[in-house]
C-alpha cells in the first residue's frame, strides 16, 4: 500500500522536473511523457483502490486513507488522466494558431505546472493532519496561480492577481481558525497528536464549544473562499475564464472538489462540539446566496467561460446545501454530485476551449450555427450542457434531484422552493445561450472542426462515467460500499 502511495507522489514530480528542464525538447516525447505519467499514476490509484477495503482505513505516520479520501482521489485521478491525454491536441492547436505560437518552449512549463498542481491536490487528499492540509491547500493556490496566469496577457494577470490575493487572504483566515482549533485541542487534550483529525474526532466532546465555534467560523470563511462561495467568489469567474481551458476544467472540477473535501473534514471534527444546527444554518445560508448570485450573471453573460464559471458556482451552492441538510441522503447525493460535476464540467470547459479556438472569440453573441459548421464539437457541447443542467440521463440529474429531495425531506420547504426557482433561472440562461450558439444563422465562419478523433473517446468516457456514477452506482458493489462508508464517515455518529 505504502509503495503505491510513494509511486503516486514520485511520478508527477519526476515528470515535472523532466518537463521543466527541457531535456525532452517540446516535441511529441514530452506529450507522451505527460500522458504515460498520468496513466501510470492512474493505474497506481486503481491498484490502491483495489487493495483498499472501504471499512478498513489505511493509517501510517503522515498518510491516512479512508473511504472519503479514496472517493475524492478517484475523482481527481479521473480528471488527471483525461486532462493529460487530451492536453496534447489542445496545446498543439494553441501552438499552431494561439498564444503558444510565438513561444513553443512554454509547453514544457505547462506540463511541469500541471503535474505539480495535481501533485499538490494528491497531497491535500492524503495527509492526516489539519495543519498539513492547510499547507497543501495553500500550495495548490500558489501552483495554480502560474497556470491561471499562463498566457501572461493583461487580463490573465489581473485574474491571477485577484486569485492569489483573495485566496491567500481567505486561506490565512483558515489558518487562524486552525490555530484556534489547536488552542482548543491543547486546553482540552494537551499537545499530543497536534491537529490530527482522527484524534480530534475521537475526543471532540471535550473541546470548548464556543472556541470551536469561533474556529469553525474562520475555517468556513477561509476554505469557503477557496471553494468559491458567495460573497467570497470574486476571484472565481476571472480565474476560470482567463486560465487555459484545460486548467479551468481542473480548477472547477478538481480543486474545488478538494476544497470541499477539506471543509468536510473540518465539519466532521467540529460537529460533535458545535452541533448540527449551527453548521446547517451556516451552510444553507451561504448555499442559497451562492446560487442566487450566480443567476443574474449567467443570464446576461457574453463570455462563454464565465458562463461556465457561474454555473460552477451554482453547483458549488448545491453541494454546500447538501452538506447543510446533513442527512444520510443529502451527504450521499453531495458526494455523487462532486463526482458528476467534476466529470461534466471538465468536458464542458474543454469543449469551450475548443470552441474559442475554432471561432477565435470568447463572445457567445458572435458564435452561431455550430451544428452546421462544427458538428463534432456541437454534439459534445450539447451533451455537456444537457449534463450540467441536470437533465437525465446524465448523472447530474440524479444527484441534483436527491439534494433537492433531501432539502424538502428535512423540512426546508421555503428554501427548497427558492432554490428550484433559481435553478430554473440558470437553466433558462444557459439553455438560451447554448442553443443560440448551436442553431441560429452563422455569421462568422469557424476555422474548422478542431475537435480531434483522438480526444473524443476520453470526453465520451467522462460523460458516460457521469451516467454510470449518477444512475448506476447501486449496481457497482465496490463503489456502492465506498460511498456508503464515506457517508458514514461524514455523518460521524449522527446517522
Amino acid at each position: 500500500m505504502l509503495e503505491l502511495i510513494y509511486i503516486i507522489f514520485a511520478l508527477p514530480v519526476v515528470c515535472a522536473a523532466l518537463a521543466i528542464s527541457g531535456v525532452l525538447g517540446s516535441g511529441s516525447l514530452l506529450h507522451w511523457l505527460n500522458r504515460l505519467t498520468a496513466a501510470a499514476v492512474g493505474v497506481a490509484v486503481i491498484l490502491l483502490a483495489q487493495s483498499f477495503t472501504p471499512t478498513q482505513p489505511f493509517n501510517s505516520e503522515y498518510v491516512y486513507l479512508d473511504a472519503l479520501n479514496v472517493w475524492v482521489i478517484l475523482i481527481i485521478t479521473a480528471l488527471y488522466v483525461a486532462a493529460a491525454w487530451v492536453s496534447k491536441s489542445y496545446l498543439l492547436r494553441e501552438h499552431s494558431r494561439g498564444y503558444l505560437s510565438r513561444t513553443p518552449g512554454l509547453i514544457g512549463r505547462y506540463y511541469a505546472l500541471f503535474q505539480m498542481f495535481v501533485w499538490t491536490m494528491f497531497l491535500v487528499l492524503m495527509v492526516k493532519n489539519l495543519g498539513l492540509m492547510w499547507v497543501a491547500i495553500e500550495a495548490t493556490t500558489l501552483v495554480s496561480a502560474f497556470l491561471v496566469s499562463f498566457k501572461f496577457t493583461r487580463s490573465a494577470l489581473e485574474a491571477t492577481w485577484k486569485y492569489v490575493m483573495v485566496c491567500t487572504v481567505g486561506i490565512c483566515l483558515a489558518l487562524l481558525g486552525t490555530m484556534i482549533l489547536y488552542y482548543a485541542q491543547i486546553s482540552a487534550l494537551g499537545a499530543e497528536k497536534a491537529l490530527s483529525w482522527l484524534w480530534l474526532t475521537e475526543h471532540a466532546e471535550l473541546l470548548n464549544p464556543s472556541l470551536t465555534k469561533l474556529a469553525f467560523l474562520f475555517i468556513f470563511i477561509g476554505y469557503g473562499t477557496k471553494i468559491g462561495m458567495a460573497p467570497m467568489h470574486t476571484w472565481l469567474p476571472d480565474a476560470y475564464s482567463e486560465a487555459p481551458s484545460l486548467t479551468s476544467g481542473l480548477l472547477s472540477g478538481a480543486l474545488c472538489t478538494c476544497a470541499i473535501y477539506v471543509l468536510l473534514r473540518n465539519i466532521v471534527v467540529v460537529i460533535p462540539t458545535v452541533g448540527v444546527e449551527f453548521i446547517s444554518t451556516l451552510c444553507l445560508a451561504f448555499a442559497a446566496l451562492t446560487i442566487a448570485v450566480a443567476v443574474p450573471f449567467v443570464v446576461v453573460q457574453r463570455d462563454i467561460k464565465r458562463m461556465l464559471a457561474y454555473s460552477s458556482m451554482e453547483n458549488i451552492g448545491l453541494m454546500i446545501a447538501g452538506i447543510g441538510v446533513f442527512s444520510q441522503l443529502s451527504i450521499g447525493a453531495t458526494l455523487v454530485h462532486m463526482f458528476n460535476h467534476a466529470l461534466i464540467k471538465f468536458v464542458l470547459f474543454y469543449i469551450a476551449g475548443t470552441i474559442v479556438q475554432e471561432y477565435q472569440t470568447k463572445n457567445m453573441m458572435r458564435i452561431h450555427g455550430m451544428i452546421g459548421d462544427v458538428p463534432h464539437t456541437a454534439t459534445f457541447w450539447l451533451l455537456g450542457i444537457i449534463g450540467i443542467l441536470g437533465m437525465p440521463p446524465l448523472g447530474l440529474f440524479f444527484s441534483k434531484f436527491y439534494i433537492l429531495y433531501s432539502l424538502f425531506l428535512s423540512g426546508h420547504y421555503l428554501l427548497g422552493i427558492v432554490i428550484i426557482v433559481l435553478l430554473a433561472g440558470i437553466l433558462i440562461g444557459i439553455l438560451y445561450h447554448a442553443l443560440r450558439m448551436l442553431c441560429d444563422k452563422a455569421k462568422r465562419k469557424p476555422v474548422g472542426d478542431l475537435l480531434e478523433h483522438a480526444d473524443t473517446p476520453f470526453l465520451a468516457a467522462l460523460l458516460l462515467g457521469s451516467v454510470i456514477i449518477g444512475a448506476g452506482i447501486g449496481e457497482i458493489p465496490y463503489l456502492e460500499k465506498l460511498l456508503a462508508q464515506a457517508v458514514r464517515i461524514v455523518g460521524g455518529g449522527q446517522f
Binding site: 492547510w134 500558489l142 501572461f152 494577470l157 485577484k162 490565512c172 490555530m179 488552542y183 491543547i186 476571472d238
Partner: protein
C-alpha cells in the same frame, strides 16, 4: 515581553503611515525581526529541544531576510517608488488601527477573560486587522504584499501566544508557503510592471460581470 509588545505596536502603527515602498519593506522586516525575538523568548520559556530556536531562526531566514530581499530587488526595478493614495487615506488607516486596538482588547477580554498573554493576543488581532486594511486601502501591489505579510505575522503571533507553537512540520510548511507566496506575488508584480507599465492595482479593473 511587554517591551516587545510596545515596540511591535509602534512598528505596526508606523506601517500604516509609510508611503515610500522601500521604507515600508524595511519596516516590515523590522516587524518580523521583533516577532523572531518574541519566538526566541517564548522558545526559551516553554520549548524543548529543537523548538527553542527553530521557529525564531525560520522567521529570521524567511521573513526578515529572504522576503524583504526579494521585495527590495523588485522595488529597485520600479521607476516610481511611492504609494499613490492621498494623505487623508493614510490618516484613516492609522485611525482605523487605533480603533482596532481598543476593539481587540474588548474581544480578548470577552472571549478569553483573564487569559495569560492578554496583550500579545490583542496585539496580534490588531496586526491581522491592520494587515487587512492595508490590503484593502493601498493601491500599490507591493503595499498589498506588505499588508498580507503583516496579517500573516499577526496570525503567527496569535498562534505562538496561544499554543506555544505548532508542531515543527506544520510550521515549516507554513513558512515554505509564505516564501513561495511572496515569490509568486513578486513575479506577478514584475509582470504587472512589464505589461501595464505600473504596479498600481487600480488598473486591474477590466474583468467584470
Amino acid at each position: 515581553m511587554n517591551f516587545l509588545v510596545i515596540v511591535l505596536l509602534f512598528v505596526v502603527f508606523l506601517q500604516t503611515r509609510i508611503m515610500d515602498l522601500r521604507q515600508a519593506i524595511i519596516c516590515l522586516s523590522v516587524q518580523s525581526a521583533v516577532i523572531a525575538l518574541a519566538c526566541f523568548i517564548s522558545g526559551i520559556a516553554h520549548g524543548e529541544g529543537i523548538h527553542i530556536y527553530a521557529p525564531g531562526l525560520l522567521t529570521i531566514i524567511v521573513k526578515v531576510l529572504l522576503v524583504p530581499y526579494a521585495m527590495l530587488r523588485l522595488v529597485s526595478k520600479l521607476a516610481d517608488e511611492r504609494e499613490l493614495i492621498s494623505e487623508i487615506n493614510v490618516n484613516y488607516s492609522t485611525a482605523a488601527s487605533a480603533v482596532f486596538l481598543v476593539l481587540s482588547y474588548l474581544i480578548v477580554d470577552k472571549m478569553l477573560p483573564g487569559v495569560e498573554g492578554r496583550d500579545i493576543l490583542a496585539l496580534s488581532i490588531v496586526m491581522i486587522l491592520t494587515g487587512l486594511t492595508l490590503i484593502v486601502m493601498r493601491s500599490r501591489a507591493i503595499m498589498q504584499m506588505v499588508g498580507l505579510i503583516t496579517m500573516e505575522n499577526g496570525i503567527y503571533l496569535l498562534g505562538m501566544a496561544m499554543t506555544e507553537g505548532l508542531p515543527l512540520v506544520i510550521e515549516m510548511g507554513i513558512f515554505l508557503d509564505v516564501l513561495i507566496a511572496v515569490m509568486v506575488l513578486v513575479i506577478l508584480t514584475n509582470r504587472l510592471r512589464l505589461s501595464f507599465m505600473t504596479t498600481d492595482t487600480n488598473v486591474l479593473r477590466k474583468l467584470k460581470g
